[in-house]
């Protein structure tokens, strides 16, 4: 029984509660009428409200360029929530959530916007009779990030004498190392690192968090989790869809920036990191940064050997003819933006030296899957006849993040009969079969964590820069290398050129 009421230590009433309290907060969304806000942020806020998981006092303020009244913005919020929420909204909860929503119109460089925003925030505090934490969510085009941050600083909204002020920044955090460094410099001139929450929504996915549980809550894997037993690691994030209507964004980003620089390097970190001494934000992120620092920065001369890019050509997907990338609406003629990228990375440390980490991602591949396949070294001696069998294959542990979240272990087993003939079989564990609960959306978790000030699932400044340090030379080399790019047929396994990255004996898993 906890009897302490030491105000410096803990609240004895929170023991045993699944949902820990979140301090009273006003959330300000910049880019409040944008796609991300409508599709993800507002539905996430509704679902938190539905579950009673918002702070005791919660207010939402939207900031965007378009002129509109508070009521008009509330109506837009309601429409977005009804359309995109993962559950049918309860009318009374929705009404309660939206009744105090405010809207501040104006351009992000206009000091008047921040003056008005400040008075709205002050008004909420006066009404509450207490200071409210402030969280500024930058859900705008990346070019506005420094503009908004500096305007917040100029209007003194970056600090509060009696409450926490936090800044949540969407991806992409820069498109090059230099941009990321410059953005960090400008952000950290106004905010402390402890106030900054850089979103990588992959980290909010239950499946990614499960990887830490899988590695660090099960003793059986640790003895094998090193260069002595592991032959290679393969991380795949494939999509069967093309770029759809996102040509503007995608053609300026490409597969490497869109997925590898952030999400897939994070997955690599989760595979390769040492066990943190505790699961605090700093300890976890320290371990991830060590992994990133262990990956040698490629020189321009290395890029051809360790990276492959390609574009999809026309083909068949989902039983239909589909156009190639260059024929997609909005894609500039002669674009050299890659829709497929594959890397071979080394993690040069005691645990992983010599183990290749293969990363690949692409649009219009055979199917949608995100997985990590860890291939173990083959057994040193085979006493079995290979005659008439599929052969003894190395054990492979596959962690699937989507669509069917789970873990699969490939083992060799004897085929029933009189002869000792071996074939691979899979031992499967599927998360969906083993839990009653539904996973919350990544943004629900991330918004809550940011309001609580828990940065474990957010990317730290040095982490972002370390990710860019690896990818920047590849981006630079590719942008300086004229096209056309290698191609792969839509609906296929990807370009043949990717096989050139593989060490002898390794092969890509079928997508």
């Amino acid at each position: 029984m906890a009897t302490t009421t030491d105000t410096e230590t803990e609240n004895p009433l929170t023991a045993g509660l699944e949902r820990q309290p979140v301090a009273p907060t006003t959330l300000v969304i910049f880019g409040a009428t944008g796609d991300l806000a409508r599709r993800k942020l507002l539905p996430a806020l509704y679902n938190l409200a539905h579950e009673g998981a918002l702070p005791e006092r919660f207010h939402l303020v939207g900031v965007s360029r378009k002129e509109k009244e508070h009521d008009d913005y509330r109506a837009e919020c309601e429409e977005a929530i009804r359309r995109f929420s993962r559950r049918t909204p309860d009318d009374s909860v929705l009404e309660r959530l939206l009744e105090t929503v405010k809207y501040v119109p104006g351009t992000f460089d206009d000091p008047q916007v921040y003056a008005e925003l400040g008075s709205v925030l002050d008004g909420f505090e006066q009404e509450a009779g207490e200071p409210l934490n402030r969280a500024f969510y930058l859900s705008t085009a990346p070019g506005f990030f420094p503009v908004i941050v500096e305007a917040l600083g100029a209007s003194k909204l970056n600090e509060h004498a009696r409450a926490e002020v936090r800044l949540i920044i969407e991806k992409p955090f820069g498109t090059t190392l230099q941009e990321a460094q410059e953005l960090n410099r400008r952000v950290l001139a106004i905010f402390d690192e402890a106030q900054v929450f850089r979103i990588d929504h992959y980290l909010g996915k239950e499946t990614v968090q499960n990887m830490m549980a899988f590695r660090f809550a099960n003793g059986m894997f640790e003895p094998l989790w090193n260069r002595n037993y592991i032959e290679s690691v393969q991380i795949t994030a494939s999509e069967e869809l093309g770029i759809g209507s996102r040509a503007d964004y995608y053609d300026s980003a490409g597969a490497l920036r869109d997925l590898i620089q952030n999400h897939m390097l994070q997955l690599l970190c989760h595979v390769a990191m040492e066990p943190p001494v505790s699961f605090t934000a700093e300890e976890v992120r320290n371990e991830k940064v060590k992994v990133l620092h262990s990956i040698p920065q490629p020189s321009p001369a290395d890029v051809g050997q360790m990276a492959v890019r390609a574009q999809y050509s026309s083909g068949h997907a989902g039983g239909e003819d589909v156009p190639g990338y260059l024929q997609e609406d909005g894609v500039p003629e002669g674009s050299i933006t890659e829709t497929y990228a594959a890397l071979r990375l080394e993690v040069d440390n005691w645990r992983w030296a010599g183990v290749p980490f293969y990363l690949r991602t692409g649009k219009r591949l055979a199917r949608k899957v995100t997985e990590i396949a860890v291939t173990l070294k083959p057994v040193p001696h085979l006493a079995f006849s290979q005659d008439g069998s599929l052969g003894v294959q190395p054990n492979q542990l596959v962690l699937t993040l989507q669509p069917n979240e789970g873990v699969s272990l490939r083992l060799g087993a004897k085929i029933p009969g009189t002869r000792m003939i071996i074939r691979p079989v899979n031992m499967e564990f599927l998360y969906g079969t083993a839990f009653l609960s539904q996973s919350p959306e990544a943004y629900e978790r991330l918004i809550t964590d940011a309001m609580r000030g828990d940065a474990t699932l957010f990317t730290r400044n040095d982490e972002v820069e370390a990710q860019w340090r690896i990818c920047d030379p590849i981006v630079g080399t590719w942008s300086n290398t004229p096209g056309p790019l290698p191609s792969y047929e839509a609906g296929s396994q990807g370009p043949q050129e990717a096989d050139g990255l593989l060490r002898e004996g390794d092969r890509w898993r079928a997508i």
């Binding site: 410096e8 609240n11 023991a15 045993g16 006092r57 309860d90 069917n404 079969t433």
Partner: protein, 356 residues
Amino acid sequence: MNATSDAVWSEQGTTPDAIEAALRQLLAQRHAENGNFVPARVLNMIAFVDREWSGEIANRLRGVGRYHASRLLVLSYEPQRERLDARVMIASEGEPQAGELALLRETVVVEIGDRHLDDLLTIADPLVVTDLPTLLWSPHGHQDVVEVLLELSQAVLLDSVEEPLAHDALDRAWALSENAYVVDLAWLRSTPWRERVAAAFDPARLREELLGISAVTVRHHPASTVAGALMLGWLGSRLGWHTGQPLGNDGDALVGRSRAANQHEVALRMEVAPELKVPGLASVTLETDSGLRLTLGRGSGGLRARVRDHDGAEREWTIPGASRGEAGVLGEGIRQALLRDPTYVPALEAARTLLV
């Protein structure tokens, strides 16, 4: 659950072996139809129900949606029944989508009579999935049966507000808690209230007010005295209050005093809320020496908070949250069988000291 894809087997005059074989066969058939059908393996639930009320229980269980136990064994009891009859249903929420899985959940209904009670363990044991946790629910009483089936169970689901006498309900829960993890729906109904009280005092500047709580008033549904006592028990156990004597009558209310570790006195009061139509709490009010008063009450779209500050200023607002309804509470009870709340038993122990 909204099953849209079922496989059914039934037999009159059957045996546990035959039922178990039918389960295996149905699962194999479903898997053969489509390899993406996979059996859920989360939790066994044994429900011992009176046959005449089994329809109502089935309806309640249908309402729990995704919290349906992966294998539900319903022992439907009819005293005069001589023959063992059984039905097995394997249901999924739909046909698997391409590349995705469809979970199968199994329901086994076994009709039993008095003559089977002595052999109940040998009937139930083969029908639960080995190595999965098992939750036992006997909504119509039958404490003797519960004692027997506890051998198969790690958790027991009960609803303390359903016992006619509050003190008996608490004693019963206490006795069960010595042998299994108790999931008490009366406790789970108070979760949003406990979360909000905890949150209200969470800011560091308000935590010290916990030491100065001078009065707590809990209003509850007329049949939910247990819920009120558990709420007071929770506060007392978390804050280290000592209650020397049970609460006494003050008109329709129960009143008493606790003493905090710092010798501070806390006035306790439980009132019936006749206007409340659903089980559980109607409101909770906490007052402190410094003049702070917090009241949480039911409101449209969430809990309504009313605060009177130290300076006498009053404020009101709603903390959004959807009502889970009784089906949601039951579903949460099933889910809680997989978790462990270390604060229930201390709250229960403290609540027992409040009621005679």
